[in-house]
Symmetry: C2
Subunit: 251 residues, 2 copies
């Protein structure tokens, strides 16, 4: 039976309550100050792969949208990440974080040393958006519903617990606090409007579950590789490598 | 500079020596009898996803091959896994292993409960073979060069250490001991023949590295989820569920 929009929204929010990666132990470790400098660096390196792939995901989506109005509404996501004349963009902001934790930003930008499991998960998301229905693609983006809370907790936790944290290094998260609500308000309204049968609602909910898996898997891989007992896969970033002189800032 | 075929083969074998998943701690645990029944079951459930995807990978490859002779040579891989009138095939044999460790074979075959990281890694392999050059696709299959040793060690280790192990439950591995050498002899000769520039040799070597990442990531995910300290992601198989009455065999 088709749920009302309000019921369906509640179903989507319940998925976040149960499966969003704010519940992963790595985030507790990170936000509470329990990460070593190298664990923070490993997170910065791997999460960059996700950041850098998001505009490709959004371009894949737009490449399949025939409605100019929808493409126009979506385009600001790419601008937010890749930047404009007036806005450096999220990817550049993330590299400021890399600087702040003492990593060689060229190494981070090269994406070498990213965990294979990170690549597999993130690439699966880009491909999902390329291959699935537009409804599923938009629904998968709705993890942004749950992002502001984690970004606010992250800013507070990093500022309280790590010397590298300041307005410049955390500017990525502060900007997302402004950008994400606009994106997700549009995406949520679009999904509630277009998921007008029980079958479509199930598909949209499954897409959101898929996306929570993509996020959770990245933290699982990070935790397994770099948190005790660390087991770094062949070829992935090794602690104490690719650092810049200012590495002591990441403490 | 282009390496000679013998030099290039040595380079490929070195990749296996450094990165093949026989070096992963999960395999040591499994083959030495250190796995609990539920850890063996988690391995059976997740590895099934890989087995079940391999014929799709081979079909994706054949869908891009214009040479009937190459398609004909490749076709036996699909037959080996999916079966023929005279041969039940590797997927059915794997489900016999599922029976033997007390799992509900319908649950295993449904692929529900597979770790998201397993899906992402295996799907990345299928997509790689669909998207990359034929040379890279064949080169990625060359992890079979290193498989007979691990299959022999597995048969010996499982027989010595687990009650569920017998000729029937381990028939998948015994058959692969016969099938894999034929496949890999063809694949290796094809790669050595076609990788006739330094650039192609680099691409083929990178494809083999990619494939070792696919295999390693699956064991990493399994280890992180089900070996101490276990951290099972949302939605993945939970120990003590989906068992059949004969579960006590998996001891």
């Amino acid at each position: 039976m088709t749920a009302t929009p309000a019921e369906f929204e509640a179903r989507l929010r319940q998925i976040g309550a149960e499966r969003y990666h704010d519940k992963h132990p790595f985030h507790h470790l990170l936000h509470s100050g329990g990460c070593t400098p190298d664990q923070v660096r490993a997170w910065v390196i791997n999460r960059f792969y996700y950041q850098a792939s998001i505009p490709m995901k959004d371009a894949a989506f737009m490449s399949r949208v025939e409605d100019p109005a929808l493409r126009r509404a979506w385009r600001s996501r790419i601008e937010d990440h890749d930047g404009t004349d007036a806005n450096e963009g999220g990817i550049a902001r993330w590299l400021r974080l890399a600087d702040a934790v003492g990593l060689d930003r060229d190494y981070v930008a090269s994406k070498r040393g990213v965990l294979p499991a990170t690549r597999f998960a993130v690439d699966a998301y880009v491909r999902f958006v390329r291959d699935k229905t537009l409804l599923e693609a938009v629904a998968a983006s709705l993890t942004e519903l749950f992002a502001p809370k984690i970004h606010a907790a992250r800013i507070e936790g990093l500022l309280a617990n790590y010397d590298f944290a300041d307005d410049s290094s955390l500017s990525y998260f502060r900007n997302r606090l402004n950008e994400a609500p606009k994106d997700v308000a549009f995406g949520l309204a679009w999904v509630l409007d277009h998921a007008d049968t029980a079958e479509k609602q199930d598909a949209a909910a499954a897409a959101l579950v898929f996306k929570t898996d993509v996020l959770w898997s990245q933290l699982d891989a990070l935790h397994a590789a770099y948190v005790t007992p660390a087991r770094i896969p062949p070829g992935a970033w090794q602690p104490d490598t690719h650092l810049i002189a200012a590495r002591s800032r990441a403490s």
